[in-house]
Structures are given as C-alpha cells and as structure tokens.
Amino acid sequence: MKINTPSRHMREGVRNIVRNGWMTFASVSSIAISLFILGVFVLLTLNVNDWADQVENRVEVKVYLEVGVPQEQVDSLEADMKAIPEVKSVTFVSKEEGLVYLRQQLGENSKDLLEGLDGEDNPLGDAFTVEAKDPRSVSVVADKIGALNLGKDPKPIDKIDYGKETVKKMFKIMDIIRWGGFGIVLLLSLSAVFLIANTIKITILARRKEISIMKLVGATNSFIRWPFFIEGALLGLIGSLIPIALLLIGYWNLVQVADADTLDLFMIQLKPFGEIGLTLTVLLLCIGMFIGVWGSLLSVRKFLRV
C-alpha cells in the first residue's frame, strides 16, 4: 500500500458512516445494546467468581466429638488428623470455647437458654476445625476423618460437617450466570453482525457503479475492500464506546455505594474499580471491533466476485 492510500481509505470509511445516517444509528445501537448486556454479565461473573473463591477458601471441616471423650483419645485423634496428607491445619476448639461461640451467635435471646451451663453442666462436646490444603479436597479430608471412627468403641466422633451443599449450589448458580449470559450475548452479537452487514451492503449498493469502474481500471480487491473494512471497524468502535462508558460510570457508583457497607451484609466484596475497568474496556472494545469487521467482510465478500 502506498503512503497516501491509508488516509484515503480512512476518509472513505468515515464518509460512508456519515452518509448512511439511519443504518449507522441502527447498527451502532444494536452493538451497543449487545455489548452493554455482555458487560453486565462480565461484571457479574467476575464478581461472583471472586466471591466464590473467597467462600471456597473459607470452607473448613468441623469435627464434633461426642460428649465426654477422654483427653488422651482427643490428643490421639488430633495427631491422627494432622497425619492426613491433605490436611493443612487442625485447631482444637474446647467445649468452653464452643459455648462462648454459641452465645455470640445467638446473642441476647440466648441469655436464658444458655444460663448455668458452664463448667460441668456444659452439654457440648469438644470439637476440631480442620483446614484442607486445597479447598476442593475437603470431602476427601472429611471421609478420612470419618474413617478414624472405625474400630473404636465408643466412637469418639459425633458429626463431621462441611459446607458441601452450599458450595455445590454456588457453583451451579455461577454456571447459569456464565452460560446464560454467554448465550444471550452470542445471539445479540449475531444480530449486530447482520445489521452491520446490511449497513455496509447499502453503502456498497450506493457505490456499485463506482466499484465497477474501480475494477475496470484495475483496482485490486483489497483496495476496494479497505474502506468498508474501516467502516465496519468504526461502527464496532463507536458501538462499544457507549456501553463501556455507561458500565464504567455505573460500576464506579456501585463501588462507592458498596463501601458504605450495604453489601457487607451478604459477605460480598466488589472487585476494585481499576482492575475490573481495564478488563471490561479491553474486552468490549475487541468484541465490538470484531463484530464490526466481521459484518463488513460478510457483505463485501459477495460483491467482489467478478
């Protein structure tokens, strides 16, 4: 390509966008809407992922012992659990600590209920909190701890508890958000591609005579294609800048509000604006341009056969 050619293609591309007024508007807004929805899902997914990681790392195995297990058996159990290779740490929670914790949890209402249960009257058993090295291996750890009960009479372990069901449900919800969002965005993107293809087809039809003369005097196909290519990319660019701006403003405000501890109730921490803003901007820009270029190639291809 010669030096003065790119500026000519650029000029032509921009001129087409201005000339096609309404179709430009239609295709830009369809890209904008698709990308806006995509952006919402991206923000949601990133945050849910983050949240899931946090929750996952909080997963631990609670081992409740029977009431009145002798001290030496408690000690040997602790040693056995520490010997399991997947285990990271074992913390002993005495029945006194358990009671304190229970009181904290139940708050004021428990005053009467838990009155006079201290010392010898404490109905709770001792317990352990076991952390796995890898949160995903908690079920293995739980099984292995359960096996320590075998061949002992009376059985020292009363109950083993870990947030298995909660974690499973959470991942299911996340998958729905992720795939549902992906499906919707895919459909919307396809419609945006076709709208762009149509916009550019109109440009081409309006310039069919010009194109046929260009071909007659020996213009190469790529020379003819460039302005349409640029037109498509610009449509995609404009179409992605709008939702990027809206989403960034929206998320920034959300982060401000969230700091005022409304969301703390749900144990959700929003990802910081800076980090997520960059991901979102780059992602939407790329997809927007891709849709635009794809749409333009789709319509140009047919017209260049001759």
Partner: protein
C-alpha cells in the same frame, strides 16, 4: 510459447485461439474465434446486434471467461490468470462504453484522477498526468465541472481520458459513438485516431457505417458467433 503465463517482447497485443463462449442459459455467443491483433493496430468490430460482438469485447477485459480456448492480452494468458491478478491485467487495458460511465458526483478532474488513485499512483504524478490527458482530450478548462454540465461528446472525451490516463497498451471501446450525433462522433473518432497514432492499440465495436467506410482500418465482422470477415482497410458491409 514458453510457460504460457507471460510472453514478453511480443508484438501481438491480443490473441484468441479457438475461443468458445456458451452462457449458462444455453446461448452460444461465440463459436471458435481465432484472431490476432498486433501492437498499434486499429480494429473495428462490426456485425448485427446479438452476433456476439459484446461477448467478444468482454472476453478481452476479462469481464467474461471463455468456455473453451485461450486468450492472451498484452502477454498475459487470461486462462491461467489467478483471480487476484486480474486487476494488473486490466491496468493494461482502457475500456470505453457507449454510456460513458462517469461518476456523477465527481468533477471531470476527479473522474480521471480516480483511475490513477485506485492503482495507487504517486500523488504528484497523478496531478501532472491527469492535466496532461485532459489537455489531450481538450477539456482542461472544464476540469472542475461536473459530468452533468457537459455535452455527450464532452462526457465521452472524459471517459477516453480516463481510459488512457494509465497508459494502457490497448483500448477496448464498445460503441463509443453510439449515443452521439454524427458531428460529435467525428470528433471522438479523430481523438481515437490520435491516441492510436501515439502508440495505443484500439479495438472498437461499432454500428457506424459512415465512420468505418471513411476512416479505413482493419474490419472484423462477427456473425452468429464466428468471424465471417477480416480485412485490412475493410468496409462496413451491412445496410443499416
């Protein structure tokens, strides 16, 4: 004849060897055309409407592909030519039509310079060369007018300027005087002859008996898809 793709230093500008063209609707437009046109020749192509003249012309600038046979244009074997090489062959060919085919929104100057722009000629060269050909067709003072402000003959001269601006080896003209009155037609023919004198081969399809019989050149007559007559300094030979 060689590798068959490009023949350099050849004085035959156009050659067809046993060329057949059958359209998909079953029409046999051309049946076995053999012809050679030398560099610097001026050839009229005559014959009744629907005899295959237009197809014959279109084959030369690769608007149509032959069903069978070989075509060489300025050393290129059109049959072996890859799709993306076509533009480079067309740069050796200037095409002129009966209906001028100018771009209505561009000025005369732009209509001509456009042809150089699309083959990515250097900017400086474009200016100089465009003014040069506009002078040749005597339209330099109309450079900034729009096609609609010009007469038919003037518009055809713009089309000629556009056709020759890239210095093609050959001009293919499909009834260039078909829409013009006799007096204007003579002006166009004078111009064509001048271009021919300057070294460009011209192949021109025409229905104009007076021109063919007065400005004597080689005449090729096509009827029902075959060449029925090929004479140097020939006559039109039909009663129109």
């Amino acid at each position: 004849m060689d590798k068959g793709y490009v023949r350099k230093g050849c004085d035959i500008v156009i050659e067809m060897q046993d060329v057949w063209k059958t359209y998909s609707n079953g029409t046999h437009a051309l049946r076995g055309i053999d012809i050679k046109v030398d560099r610097n020749e001026f050839v009229y192509v005559v014959g009744p409407s629907g005899a295959g003249k237009s197809t014959f012309m279109k084959l030369m600038y690769r608007e149509e592909k032959p069903t069978k046979g070989q075509i060489f244009v300025n050393g290129f074997n059109l049959e072996k030519l890859k799709q993306r090489k076509i533009p480079y062959v067309r740069r050796n060919i200037g095409v002129i039509f009966q209906d001028y085919r100018l771009l209505p929104k561009l000025t005369i100057y732009e209509n001509v310079s456009f042809a150089m722009e699309v083959i990515e000629a250097p900017k400086k060269h474009i200016r100089k060369r465009t003014m040069e050909v506009l002078e040749l067709v005597r339209l330099k003072d109309k450079a900034l007018s729009l096609p609609s402000q010009l007469s038919g003959g003037e518009q055809q001269r713009v089309a000629i300027a556009r056709a020759i601006v890239n210095n093609p080896a050959v001009i293919i003209a499909d009834e260039p005087t078909g829409n013009l009155d006799p007096e204007t037609s003579w002006g166009i023919m004078k111009l064509m002859e001048e271009i021919n004198f300057r070294g460009t081969t011209i192949v021109m399809a025409t229905h104009n008996k007076e021109i063919v019989n007065t400005m004597r050149k080689r005449v090729i007559a096509i009827e029902r898809g075959t060449i029925v007559r090929d004479e140097l300094r020939g006559e039109y030979g039909y009663e129109d």
